[in-house]
């Protein structure tokens, strides 16, 4: 009379761990932008190519993780969070990885040059955007605690504080982007026009990285509100 127990069958695979692993991978992608732009500042395009390859590899891994998690979320799964929210969160996290890869590809393909006076503020801007991504990961890391408390009580306050920080960081990146654009405008005459257009585009993309991070946090907020 030995068979597989049907009781254990009622427990589905939790999406929390995979979601956290995926965001960790997305953060790794974004973090590679620092060595990427450092190499750009040095005009070391062999290094830029190497970092770009690394980002591309990490993004592939994130992609695989995304697909696997999607496969493991059938419609009949009953979770403390809405299945659509989980899928949306996954998509937004994946956009961070994608965005990093886009930036790296663009920078390598166009052989971006960074005017010397912009290097320091630009690197700070990149760092801050990555901070936003890291902060988004921090909130996602609290998901298992949220499940433990049933999405109630003091843990919610902890997560809300993290989300407020995330909003603040994102606002920082906005301000930095505005200042950088102003500096760039002041030196427009001294630079080739196409380079300027290109730099505006890179600024925009790096800023969007922080936006993506904030969207991940916003999705978490929606999960809390249910």
């Amino acid at each position: 009379m030995i068979g597989r127990s049907y009781f254990s069958g009622i427990f589905g695979t939790s999406p929390i761990k995979p979601l956290q692993e995926h965001v960790t991978k997305a953060v790794e992608c974004a973090e590679q932008l620092v060595p990427l732009f450092e190499a750009v500042a040095r005009n070391d395009f062999d290094e830029v190519a190497a970092v770009q390859a690394e980002i591309s590899r990490l993004e592939d891994e994130a992609d695989d993780m995304k697909k696997e998690l999607r496969m493991r979320l059938p419609r009949t799964l009953f979770m403390p969070v809405d299945r659509r929210d989980v899928l949306e969160m996954l998509r937004l996290q994946d956009r961070i990885a994608n965005r990093s890869k886009d930036i790296a590809g663009l920078v390598l393909g166009r052989r971006m040059t960074l005017p010397g006076s912009l290097v320091t503020p630009f690197m700070e801007f990149v760092q801050r955007s990555i901070d936003a991504v890291r902060q988004a990961k921090k909130t996602v890391d609290e998901l298992d605690e949220l499940v433990e408390t049933g999405f109630r009580g003091s843990e919610v306050a902890v997560v809300e504080a993290l989300l407020e920080d995330l909003d603040r960081i994102e606002k920082d990146t906005d301000n930095m982007q505005i200042r950088l654009r102003r500096s760039l405008r002041d030196m427009e005459d001294t630079l080739p026009a196409v380079d300027v257009m290109f730099l505006y585009r890179v600024l925009e993309l790096v800023g969007k990285l922080a936006d993506n991070a904030q969207q991940v946090g916003a999705r978490l907020q929606i999960m809390l509100a249910r």
Binding site: I2, F11, G12, T76, F78, E148
Partner: protein
């Protein structure tokens, strides 16, 4: 009676085998929760299960056994054909056993309780006619199959919500856990003892009034709570454990509670499921001993002992392997929710036992898990599996019934 002794020996063998199967397979569902949450090791789980399944079967198994023995069929109709009832009961045991064997090899979610009730009804309807079934009793049994998971689900939901309000959602959950977990231990001891002493102990020759029962229940509950409190206060809090997951230490406090509810779970399972194996044996015994079909005497204690021994034998021989397998697959139920599921299920089942209603322990436990899930306490539940489990008894009743009709006719032919 010509073949009296043979009937009795056959019944004992079939009943023992059935009990063995329950011990080998079914106990795992009741115990795996505690193993999966790493509160108990396999050895400890088997040890607790052996003791408390045995105690539950012997102390509180009498009422349900009585129902299976003489509650489902209008035995009065069979006054002149006592052998028919013997064949029927033997056939029912064989049928339920066979059906369970088929179902578990196929991996179907089938309950022992549903199989045996279906089998008894099967031979009664086709062998003796629709009038032979005691419909009010069967009606309440079938109703209880719906009510017991729902009730356990509601209780588990409320228990887990109370855990959230009192402990998990507080700023200092460790202090709150130390304060309130002993209260849950008290509740567990109180409910289990009260339900057992109120109706169950007559079979052991002990009859207690309501006041006495309450008194004993309070004493048992308080003793457990004080003991639990002592253990909890000695748990060293290790802040480094909370770095990765902030509630590790809180869960360690809940683990003490879960040891108690695991005992309760084994006890209630024994009290209800032993009847599935030895209810028919008791029926055969009554007829062979007295020649009458409608035995009024309480179920003899040694029959309960036989069933309990069968369960423990199955548990010791194969149960540990099944518990290990199932436990590995249930890791989502951490002690803070595992206890809520176990307490809700154990309380519901032991209550059914004291009313003499055979319910499915596993279904009740599934109901409890869903209750905690509704309180947003479980990361992922597979609803299609849940649906399959609850739909299974719709198939099990006729399947057990048809098989038992076949065995019934084989019996009748071979003994006449």
């Amino acid at each position: 009676m010509e073949y009296g002794l043979i009937y009795l020996i056959l019944a004992a063998i079939f009943g023992l085998f059935m009990a063995w199967g329950i011990g080998a397979n079914d106990v795992a569902n009741a115990m795996a929760t505690s193993v999966g949450s790493r509160v108990l090791t396999i050895k400890q789980a088997v040890f607790i299960a052996a003791i408390f399944e045995f105690a539950g079967a012997v102390l509180a198994g009498g009422e349900v056994t009585n129902t299976i023995r003489s509650g489902i069929i209008e035995v009065g109709l069979l006054e002149d054909y006592p052998e028919e009832l013997i064949f029927g009961m033997l056939a029912a045991l064989l049928a339920a056993g066979t059906w369970l064997l088929i179902a578990s090899t196929m991996g179907w979610p089938v309950s022992t309780t549903h199989s045996i009730v279906g089998a008894i009804m099967g031979f009664a309807i086709t062998g003796l006619g629709w009038g032979a079934v005691h419909w009010p009793v069967v009606g309440s049994i079938v109703a209880s199959w719906v009510i017991s998971p729902v009730l356990a689900g509601c209780v588990a939901y409320m228990l887990f919500r109370s855990v959230q309000l009192l402990i998990l959602d507080r700023r200092d959950p460790i202090t709150s856990a130390r304060r309130f977990v002993p209260l849950y231990i008290f509740a567990t001891g109180f409910i289990m003892t009260l339900m057992t002493t109120l109706k169950g102990l007559q079979h052991v020759g002990l009859e207690l009034g309501t006041a006495e029962s309450c008194g004993i229940a309070v004493i048992v509950g308080a003793t457990l709570a004080v003991g639990g409190k002592l253990v909890i206060d000695r748990i060293p809090i290790d802040p480094s454990l909370d770095r990765e997951f902030h509630y590790t230490n809180v869960e360690r406090i809940f683990a003490v509670l879960m040891v108690i509810t695991a005992c309760a779970m084994a006890f209630s399972h024994g009290s209800n499921d032993v009847a599935n194996a030895i209810g028919p044996v008791a029926a055969v015994l009554t007829i062979v001993q007295s020649g009458e079909v409608a035995g009024k005497a309480p179920v003899p204690i040694w029959v309960l002992l036989l069933g309990a021994a069968g369960i423990v034998a199955g548990l010791l021989m194969l149960g540990h392997r099944v518990i290990a397998t199932v436990g590995r697959e249930i890791t989502q139920l951490t002690p803070s929710r595992g206890f809520a599921c176990e307490l809700a299920a154990a309380g519901t089942v032991v209550m059914a036992s004291s009313f003499g209603i055979p319910v499915s322990t596993t279904h009740t436990l599934v109901g409890a898990v869903l209750g905690v899930g509704l309180a947003r306490g479980i990361a992922a539940l597979n609803l299609s599996a849940v649906r399959r489990i609850f739909l299974s008894w719709v198939v099990t009743l006729p399947a057990g019934g048809i098989l038992s009709v076949i065995f019934f006719h084989i019996m009748r032919i071979s003994f006449s």
